[in-house]
């Protein structure tokens, strides 16, 4: 096809596309029903895109850049950025999911911290996160040491330890609910299910989370341990260092970076814990604190979910979610600054 024909074809596409889009917009503003106008809009946009691509033009590269960026920027803007900004605004209003009648300033934030159930969830999540970081990392690191030592069947073990991580928390949670309620009570005859006791139920979630996540963390430690140069290890062996000395004086210091990565991964994962929480206990059992009855295993994410979806308190749920985000943002900033510092030291 020669340039002139190409040009007129693409111009034609642009014109038709523009006409379609304008028609769709007119339909939109007239308030017509039916999905037709939406597809008209998309068809128009597509025609314009193809037209722009085919148009012989000096700015062709720039047009391609724009078109290549568009899908990601558009979906990201609509599903992440706009809702995110709206969400922060909503947290200062009396939003009920449909409309906003007035700005209430910091009222939601004050109400939130006055509610015992939120404060409880908040503290519970923080404590859980700390204990979980320790348990997952110790388990993961020990498994990694085992899987990098000279034993048989290493590859099978690695795969086996890793497997729980691939299955969704919802499904695994129900399986573990069965194990706690039926299997353990049969094996230890006469015992009550762990899930009926407020403290033991938290322990149960900690246990399942460690079981699920340790294999993943293990694989990251394995990668770290394998990066320790073998000549260094040989040298220490020749010098007569015991395996324990090698571990604490050589291996652990050399993979300090891996520890940072793993600790922050576990931190974020435990803080966001939701699926397992929902399917193992769903917040139960309740516990009496002062003169109030609260859900003893309701972690922060579940508390947010229940406030918004269960109790239909949209503004308050949104406010809690904003606080949730702020904490996660602080954690990530800390991680970034720590790894930057480490890079400078190296």
């Amino acid at each position: 096809m020669n340039t002139a024909a190409k040009k007129s074809l693409s111009l034609g596409m642009l014109v038709v596309g523009a006409v379609l889009m304008v028609a769709a917009l007119i339909l939109d503003f007239m308030g017509t029903k039916g999905a037709m106008r939406g597809y008209l809009l998309i068809a128009g946009a597509l025609l314009i895109i193809v037209g722009l691509l085919k148009l012989p033009n000096k700015k062709h590269t720039k047009i391609v850049n724009g078109l290549f960026l568009f899908p990601m920027v558009f979906t990201f803007g609509v599903t992440v950025m706009i809702p995110f900004i709206l969400g922060i605004i909503y947290s200062f209003t009396d939003w009920n999911g449909v409309s906003v009648t007035q700005f209430v300033g910091l009222e939601n934030y004050i109400t939130m911290f006055r509610q015992l159930d939120f404060v409880y969830s908040f503290i519970l999540t923080l404590l859980f996160t700390i204990v979980n970081i320790v348990s997952v990392n110790i388990a993961g690191f020990c498994l990694a040491l085992l899987c990098t030592s000279k034993i048989k069947g290493k590859n099978f073990f690695r795969a086996a330890y890793f497997l729980p991580n691939l299955i969704g928390g919802i499904v695994l949670g129900y399986v573990w609910q069965f194990i706690f309620n039926k299997v353990f009570t049969t094996v230890f005859v006469g015992s009550n299910s762990m899930l009926t006791d407020a403290n033991l139920a938290i322990l149960a979630i900690l246990f399942v989370n460690t079981w699920q996540y340790a294999g993943y963390i293990m694989m990251i430690y394995v990668t770290g341990l394998q990066s320790v140069p073998s000549d260094v290890l040989e040298a220490s062996n020749v010098d007569g260092a015991s395996p324990l000395t090698t571990l604490f004086k050589i291996k652990i210091p050399m993979i300090a970076n891996t520890f940072t990565v793993c600790i922050f991964l576990t931190l974020v994962n435990s803080f966001k814990l939701f699926d397992l929480n929902l399917s193992i206990t769903n917040g139960a059992p309740s516990r009496v604190l002062g003169d109030k009855i609260i859900q003893s295993t309701e972690f922060l994410a579940l508390n947010i979910y229940k406030t918004a979806i269960g109790k239909n308190d949209y503004a308050l749920g949104q406010t809690k979610a904003v606080v949730f985000f702020v904490i996660l943002a602080i954690v990530s900033l800390t991680q970034v600054s720590i790894s930057k510092k480490k890079e400078v030291e190296l």
Partner: protein, 286 residues
């Protein structure tokens, strides 16, 4: 020498014991799927007397209206596959443009916004996103809630940040001379990308596919918001949870449902173990 051999043997035994422990929930699911509910009450750890019961339990579960395994499996597969294809193509395109202009301000700004947004948890946008989607629905007439279009759209937006971040770093390492050569040979920019760059990204695309694929397949919160718990379209995790909700404590059926929900991933893992582990570890380290 002998002491060393002994120690190795001890290590192997220890590893095997731990493996048995880690896998025990899966073993329990399998043996209890092959039992009647009475047998489960009698002993959940005994081996089943009649493995044929498994077929009965599974077929009882497969067609129940809350679970409808094949339909929800199909929905999960469709949502995951389409999201992954679009996500990979679009995020490679975006990452390529951003990384080829990484010295320019606009490109840096867009990239930084994408990276910073990785911190945003779904909880903070899950309520306003309903407003936005309803608004789009009212304006254009295209239904985004409780539809495939909407949830795939949302996965594109949410998966974009991390995918672009991972791809961006990789593309920076591809020598620019390759593109110049294609350019001199008369290749258009879009042609250069699809014929030269895109195929070169294969290893890192695997990482992106695996990380996003597992996330989308197992995700519960986003579909529970976008599709609803009792909507027409159900992904597997939603179907399992709605099944458990309506068959409380009927463990023979619940475990059969869990078994069916786990099988696809376990099979996939057996087939592509190395790639999956590698992909997930690479994703974490970057």
């Amino acid at each position: 020498m002998k002491a060393q051999k002994n120690r190795r043997l001890m290590g192997t035994i220890l590893g095997a014991v731990i493996a048995l422990f880690v896998l025990s929930p899966f073993i329990l699911v399998v043996i209890n799927t092959a039992k009647t509910s009475e047998d489960i009450v009698i002993s959940p750890i005994a081996l089943p007397e009649n493995w044929g019961q498994m077929i009965t339990n599974l077929s009882n579960v497969i067609n129940t209206s809350n679970f409808s395994y094949w339909t929800s499996f199909g929905s999960s597969l469709f949502i995951t596959a389409v999201s992954l294809i679009l996500l990979t193509v679009f995020s490679c395109m975006a990452a390529w443009v951003l990384s080829r202009h990484h010295r320019e301000k606009w490109s840096n700004a867009i990239f930084m916004i994408f990276v910073a947004a990785m911190v945003i948890p779904f909880q903070v946008v899950m309520l306003p996103i309903l407003t936005v989607f309803k608004g789009i629905g009212a304006f254009t007439g295209i239904k985004l809630l409780q539809s495939y279009k909407g949830i795939i759209f949302a996965y594109l937006g949410f998966g974009g940040s991390m995918s672009i971040f991972i791809l961006h770093g990789f593309i920076k390492g591809i020598p620019y001379e390759l593109e110049e050569a294609a350019w001199i040979d008369g290749c258009s920019p879009e042609g250069t990308f699809f014929r030269v760059i895109f195929p070169l990204l294969r290893p890192v695309q695997m990482t992106v596919l695996i990380l996003n694929g597992l996330w989308i397949w197992n995700d519960y919160l986003l579909p529970s918001i976008m599709l609803g718990l009792n909507g027409k379209i159900k992904t597997l995790p939603i179907a399992v949870s709605s099944f458990v909700g309506s068959y409380v404590k009927q463990w023979d059926l619940i475990l059969a449902a869990a078994f069916l929900a786990m099988i696809p991933i376990v099979l996939l893992f057996l087939l592509a173990q190395k790639q999956i582990i590698q992909g997930m570890v690479d994703g974490a380290i970057k």
